[in-house]
């Protein structure tokens, strides 16, 4: 029983991480119907950006987490945003009216490029890099369950940010413009919405959330590597699809479900953790086949 509870807690933390990334996928897909494969790499880049920020800090600042940690968040998020904006401007925007396969293949290219760029140019990026210990240490103990404070922070951040995002999209003027563009870009344009701005902003929001996720990933697991973007990106995409692409609430709930599947399948299914990955994909395929619109998505639209 205690094992089950512990795995449930681990699953929630995993889910919180995946949710932060999944929001970026779901928002971009909702607006320009692009599976932004490179979003996972934005997450990875932000993690390295945070690490680089820490490395560049003077020694006395490194010792005070209260200063170093916020600066790392700023550094990681700024890098993620820059990468996302450049990517949107130079890779995706020229292809906005191209056949549908073209931007998807471009996204693959961007993903490969970012991963390799970090591998080649970041010092020692070929092996796992340890993350600085500026995060709250120790863990929260509830009965038999043990959750590191970083995990708790991750869950709080993830839920908090997604509530803020949801409120923003539903209540603010810009949020209304986003929803309008997602429904019908041409009509939105006629109503005075600048689609370019909306799309860039969507990428920026996604990058900020991925940036937070990147830093927290390092804090929670204590080391990072260049494969983290691809793997977690796929999980996040699965979560977005599971929840219904385009739906913010769906992405978050989908992410928690994926996190739970991962930890529970690793514990209880045959094959153990070696196959947890496989179960996630099995779920993905089943969802796509039997409920393509996802749990909270609108009914399937006919797409070319």
């Amino acid at each position: 029983m205690s094992v089950l509870l512990q795995q449930l807690a681990n699953g929630v933390v995993q889910g919180a991480l995946i949710a932060l990334i999944a929001l970026g996928y779901t928002m971009v897909y909702g607006i320009i119907q692009l599976i932004n494969f490179a979003h996972g790499e934005v997450f990875m880049v932000s993690s390295y950006g945070g690490l680089a920020t820490f490395t560049l800090l003077p020694d006395d600042l490194k010792k005070s987490p209260a200063v170093a940690l916020p600066l790392m968040f700023v550094g990681g998020i700024v890098i993620a945003v820059i990468v996302a904006v450049i990517m949107e401007r130079f890779a995706y925007r020229p292809l906005r009216n191209a056949p549908r396969l073209a931007p998807l293949i471009t996204a693959l290219g961007v993903s490969v490029f970012l991963q390799e760029a970090v591998r080649v140019w970041y010092p020692n990026a070929k092996s796992n890099l340890p993350y600085p210990k500026v995060f709250p240490e120790g863990s929260l103990t509830l009965g038999t369950i043990n959750v590191p404070w970083t995990g708790v922070l991750l869950v709080v951040l993830s839920v908090g940010l997604s509530v803020i995002l949801q409120t923003y999209v539903n209540k603010s003027r810009m949020g209304r413009a986003m929803r309008a563009t997602a429904q019908d870009p041409d009509t939105a344009k006629l109503m005075g919405v600048n689609p370019d701005r909306v799309i860039v902003l969507t990428f920026v929001f996604g990058a900020v959330l991925a940036g937070v996720a990147g830093i927290m990933f390092g804090g929670y697991l204590n080391n990072i590597n260049i494969d983290m973007g691809f793997q977690n990106g796929i999980f996040a995409f699965t979560a977005a699809v599971l929840g219904g692409v385009g739906s913010i609430r769906g992405a978050v709930i989908g992410a928690f479900i994926i996190g739970l599947i991962k930890t529970l399948a690793g514990q209880y299914m045959p094959g153990g953790t070696q196959y947890d990955y496989v179960w996630i994909f099995v779920v993905l395929i089943l969802v796509l086949v039997f409920r393509p619109q996802g749990l909270f998505g609108e009914p399937e639209r006919v797409r070319a």
Binding site: N97, L108, L284
Partner: protein, 582 residues
């Protein structure tokens, strides 16, 4: 995918560019051509490089050996002369030809110049140092840029159209000579810069050669020769196929006929066959498959387990043809299973399903599922194929002619590629092929026309997977080891890139794409570190500037934007975005 017809007027002149550059067209071309010739004769390097002289070390060579021009300098000279000829002879689509040659000249000069600069530690290497002067690369680059500008000045028109009709024997002769030239070009492409690491300059020399070949080919295409040749070869299809096959089989007798290049060529062939299979799924039926290499992996694993290798799981050893058939069938069954979600899932979502399948395959193989993949230890020691006692990986002689080792694999794989091509071509022009193309263009309309879209889509997956399975079986025996490492996501992306780079739905495109993507790493070992990064960048750039690929399929050529006619960038001739709302 619905497409608006390309409405560019046939010979729209690039108005703004013409007004500025038009009077300068011919003079620029003349100067550019002369500069190219001069550059070829000028010295290029002011010192000896530490790995030995830059090919044909050319310091002040103009004075002691003005006509001893070889290697890239010979290319530069040729390009210069061709630019002059194109500028003043009555050539169809003059501007396009001059521009293409200019690009060739500029690229060759730039690559060599940049390489010398980097290796020589500074601009002194290509300008003046210690009393030696060497302005070759700079002069060549300027000449190339001038010729490019001249091309725009003269005006970029549609490629020329040749209406010449030939009598059959003459047509045969032309085809024979052309294909022989192709054979020579392929051999030269493989061997420029030497074998692997034996020549420290191999990468740069090879890139320079690609620049030259690309420029000349683009010029030929501008003149209209390539279009004409392809029409001609289609008229005499049987003859062309025989000659092309003969050329492929003659490759071992050229410069490339040694063990190293036979192995490389055989590997390219395996991937080319797989790419053609993928082309059925992606190019014809329009179903994006991101886990395709898994089918090749399944084929390889099946063949490996029946091969009698020490770690094979099944206790039986089957002769290769039987094992290959089983491999194809098993891969095909998996293909149909993976394809079955197509009944309900479309577009991007389908791509994700295939990706998920690919990942499941990799994970399962890595963890030695059912004990048949041997996990990360791989299945080593798969015996090489043999026929009548001749082992395929040993050298082999016919009478007095001794052929290099690996030549039998090469021949087997040429046959495999030829067979895949035949399957592809026959399917493409059959009822099924037309149904696939209809599905690709508009699935709902296709269904309304009475096509059973579900069956046809699964069939596409099944056939594609079977071809990949067969290629995988050959792969297993040729490499002797089967490991899940060879069938990861990156390989799927590379195959997809080969198909897209070559041109979706086109057969020569798939072969060319596979050849480029799998030769480049062999040639660019010194850039190994940056290989994948360049690869990612290339995907982005191709999608941006030439989404139809290097050798576009005829149908798609009509559907996607035509070449950048009259200065209209490809992306401006766009599709009507289809947003069917529920």
């Amino acid at each position: 995918m619905s497409t608006s017809t390309v409405s560019t007027p046939a010979a729209a002149p690039p108005v703004e560019q013409r007004s500025a550059l038009a009077p300068l067209g011919k003079p620029f071309a003349a100067v550019g051509g002369v500069l190219g010739i001069v550059a070829a004769l000028l010295p290029w390097v002011t010192f000896g490089l530490k790995d030995g002289n830059w090919p044909d070390k050319s310091t002040l060579q103009f004075f002691d050996a003005p006509f001893a021009v070889t290697g890239f300098r010979w290319h530069v000279l040729l390009l210069g002369v061709l630019i002059l000829v194109a500028a003043f002879a009555p050539v169809p689509s003059k501007g396009r030809v001059v521009r293409a040659l200019g690009w060739g000249l500029a690229v060759v000069s730039f690559i060599n110049g940049a390489y010398i600069t980097v290796k020589g530690g500074g601009l002194g290497a290509i300008t003046a140092l210690d009393g030696d002067v060497a302005f070759g690369s700079i002069v060549g680059l300027v000449g190339g840029v001038l010729a490019i500008l001249a091309g725009y000045g003269i005006g970029i028109e549609l490629p020329g159209q040749w209406k010449v009709k030939l009598s059959t024997p003459v047509a045969y002769l032309v085809l024979l000579v052309s294909f022989a030239a192709v054979l020579y070009a392929v051999a030269a492409m493989l061997t420029t810069g030497g074998v692997g690491t034996s020549n420290p300059y191999a990468g740069a020399i090879f890139l320079s050669f690609l620049g030259f070949a690309g420029g000349v080919l683009a010029a030929l295409s501008g003149v209209g020769f390539i279009r004409w040749l392809s029409v001609l070869s289609e008229e005499h299809r049987v003859f062309s196929v025989i000659v092309l096959a003969a050329c492929a089989l003659l490759l071992p007798f050229t410069e490339a006929g040694n063990e190293y290049w036979m192995t490389v060529a055989a590997n390219i062939g395996i991937y080319a066959a797989t790419a053609i299979g993928l082309n059925i799924v992606v190019g014809l039926a329009g179903l994006l498959d991101l886990g395709y290499v898994a089918f090749m992996g399944i084929g390889a694993l099946v063949a490996a387990n029946f091969s009698g290798a020490a770690t094979a799981h099944f206790g039986i050893t089957l002769p290769f043809p039987v094992a290959a058939v089983i491999a194809g069938v098993v891969a095909g069954i998996f293909g149909a299973i993976v394809g079955s979600p197509t009944l309900r899932v479309r577009g991007d979502y389908l791509a994700i399903v295939t990706l998920a399948f690919g990942e499941i395959f990799t994970r399962s193989a890595q963890n030695d599922i059912g004990g048949i993949t041997n996990g990360s230890n791989a299945i080593p020691g798969i015996p090489p194929l043999s026929l009548f006692g001749a082992e395929f990986n040993k050298s082999f002689s016919i009478g007095a002619v001794k052929l290099p080792a690996g030549v039998l694999y090469y021949i087997l794989i040429v046959l495999l590629v030829a067979a895949t091509m035949a399957v592809f071509a026959n399917l493409k022009f059959s009822r099924i092929g037309r149904a696939w193309i209809a599905i690709r263009e508009d699935e709902d309309a296709a269904r309304a026309m009475g096509i059973q879209t579900g069956k046809k889509k699964i069939l596409a997956f099944l056939i594609g997977a079977t071809l990949a399975g067969l290629a995988g079986a050959v792969f297993a025996h040729k490499n002797g080891t089967v490991s899940y490492e060879s069938f990861k996501f990156m390989e799927s992306v590379t195959l997809l890139a080969a198909v897209i780079l070559g041109g979706m739905g086109s057969i020569p495109g798939a072969v060319l794409g596979a050849a480029l993507l799998f030769v480049l790493p062999e040639k660019l070992r010194e850039f190994e570190e940056y290989r994948l990064m360049i690869f990612g960048l290339a995907l982005i750039v191709i999608m941006r500037f030439r989404p139809q690929g290097l050798i576009p399929d005829r149908h798609r050529r009509a559907e996607l934007a035509d070449e950048d006619v009259g200065g209209v960038p490809v992306d401006e001739v766009h599709e009507v975005p289809k947003e069917a709302k529920a």
